[in-house]
Symmetry: C2
Subunit: 477 residues, 2 copies
Amino acid sequence: MDNNDQDMIEKDVTDSLGAQIAPEGEGDDVVFGLTDRYIQAIVEALRNGDEDVVSRELADLSEADIAELIEKVEDEDRQTLLQTHGDLLDPYVFSELDSGLRRKVLTEMPARQVAALISEMDSDDALDLIIDLPDDFQHEVIRFLSAKTRITLEEGLNFPEESAGRLMQREFVAVPQFWTIGKTIDYLRAATEELPDEFFDLFVIDPAYHVVGIIPLNRVVRSKRSEKLEDLKLEDIHPIPATMDQEEVAQLFRRENLTSAPVVDESGRLIGVVTVDDIVDVIDEEAQEDFLKLGGVGQDDLYSNIRGTTWARFPWLFVNLFTAFSAAAVISLFSNTIEQLVALAALMPIVASMGGNAGTQALTVAVRALATRELSSINERRIVIKEILVGAINGCIFAILIGCVAGFAFSNPMLGVVIGMALIINLINAGLFGAGIPIVLNKLGADPAVASAVFLTTMTDIIGFFAFLGLATIFLL
Amino acid sequence: MDNNDQDMIEKDVTDSLGAQIAPEGEGDDVVFGLTDRYIQAIVEALRNGDEDVVSRELADLSEADIAELIEKVEDEDRQTLLQTHGDLLDPYVFSELDSGLRRKVLTEMPARQVAALISEMDSDDALDLIIDLPDDFQHEVIRFLSAKTRITLEEGLNFPEESAGRLMQREFVAVPQFWTIGKTIDYLRAATEELPDEFFDLFVIDPAYHVVGIIPLNRVVRSKRSEKLEDLKLEDIHPIPATMDQEEVAQLFRRENLTSAPVVDESGRLIGVVTVDDIVDVIDEEAQEDFLKLGGVGQDDLYSNIRGTTWARFPWLFVNLFTAFSAAAVISLFSNTIEQLVALAALMPIVASMGGNAGTQALTVAVRALATRELSSINERRIVIKEILVGAINGCIFAILIGCVAGFAFSNPMLGVVIGMALIINLINAGLFGAGIPIVLNKLGADPAVASAVFLTTMTDIIGFFAFLGLATIFLL
């Protein structure tokens, strides 16, 4: 962006944060990404129909920058942007887009244009783009593709979702074991057209296309031309079955600090490669999923419209309704007790909420430890017992704290004793179920991140209300 | 493990899951990591004092495998293992260990032994190990280090915690711009001793040690010897200030799909390199932190003892106490109303809990979007308005559902109307504060992941109880 443009745009823009008009904040702690002021300036230009300014700016931005721009502008501006400048965008801009928004944007484009984008991409990125599309539209797009691209994509679609087969890149460098370093480098120089755009390791293969070793490129460049590949101390091989879940693949990479790993078919034949840059995205995606699930959100709905978001939030709220009704049913059992001592109504949510919070803590640690496989049958009993004891100790501490406050506030020492006892019971209960529910769900093959929280709060609500109101009925009436 | 040992160990071991005694399950979906049965077999050997068996097994395991073993066995077995075989372990076993447990294990070792481990490691890994230690012990360990190692470590310790300076590796490959590919390869072959163990890219520098370009190794191996470095189309450079936060660094890597990036000092001079394998760990760590914070857990306490875990959980529960007491205070205001219509006591937790859950959903999406910078001042207003509308719509749906059930169950249609109105109010409130609280905390420079949830449940409890009991007082008495 030259100074002229800056001046021109600056007139129309006010920014209370005082950021400079430059795509990336300089001098601030922001060293990448777009500033809000810059986005506003582009939006102004779009609305004023200054197509030249927009084109020039887009030419200067990276794919990730343009994706951020598309994500952050309002719906109408996004449509204007894509209609006027959509055909100039690099296909990889769409790879960088949030997947929900990408689906929306692509389905609004003509199938022929989407097919053109896909034809320009590497096999794994093309696959990534097409699998998100609604089935009808997917078929329509596929009709416009060349036979070769279509076959590659259809092969990819045959692998299970979120598997190594979907993640892998079909372009890799494989060299026979009996070659020397010199011969390998000569081959790489001659074959430069056929090589993948990026690669970090060479796979050494036997005549049956089985991987017998992996050579990082830095070993290639530092070895003498005369050295034989089979004489190099090869890295350990971790061949990945094409059907392996991507989360497993990510754990393997992280655990063994890999940069790339060969993907093999059922007969052990090399068919592709997964590289660490794909893994970065997987780890991010899986972490995001777990985070959202813990908060009761099925999928990232930041860019969904109101109907989509409402619908995405509904199931979790509906499930929680049963927890709420069962808690209400327990309280109803004790309506006589509450009628006689209405202070109980004020205090009972304290018992339930302390239990819910303590249980969520135990649950969070357990869900995370199951995801990283740090929790397994070898230590589960120890962990559950620990959580019960932690619950008991915190239960005692809070029993004293809350018991004193409640007994004093309502001038009823016995009320303090009752709430204290109920708290101890409910925090022990919270430790038991907080750690226990995810473990059991995991054993049953369910995803502990999704379902655990409902079961847990049902338990801590029911036991909490029951213990408090039950003890009150016994000791206070 | 040869068959003899398998037979020998198998006698002592029963495993209801029927896993084979092999470090890694075969045929199952487990293709890495240790099976529980294998760990049990090692523990048996340890307890029987079969040191030969243990040594042989340890020699066959990777660093990550041994770390898993140390993590999963019970305290006494861990002590036996470390006392009898600790000095045979590769230093990188400790790098793979859970950081809480690593601190515990290392502080139980003599300082001299820890110093010996650190001396064998690369600068960044050594730094990683030593920063976790308690200050006293750290100083003691440092006394046993050679002057050179000590200086490198102390330089590293001068960078802020979780900064690029702490993350970077000081070993990198920098070459002058006027070299050819041939000269570069000759240099790499000759300098093999001085090169880092692993590298993916070469940095092209000018005489002032400023980075002018980055060449991926695959470009080196596929180019002709005669080509000049300055003629290659160089990758975009993303120099990272040494003080940049590691989370920012990770976002930059993810956004621009980098494999390595140069770290520079204030004058732009190249001082180190961050590689994508370090970033994998950072992303994992940051995702774990956010996940735990959302669940009200300050740090991963899976391996802490009971006292440590109790203490780690206490602050969050204590903060929640204020939420619980304010809710109790609101309810107390309406004790007359509740005395006259005790059904209110049973129904009021429904209003609060639906609000809490809906608010947590909005909050989870907002916290995540702030972390990934998808939410900023350009779209915050839109997001908050959307959440309010989503709350209003779900509020209406649940108002009808719950209103009908409540009106019918207590044969009091007006009670149904009141709870319905309260639900609509509280779900709108949940949308507003669920999205609004993290945004405001973020603007104030606080970490939205930690504090948001308490503020939110305080709001949904207070407004929920107040709306329901207040409306009941007006319409039902």
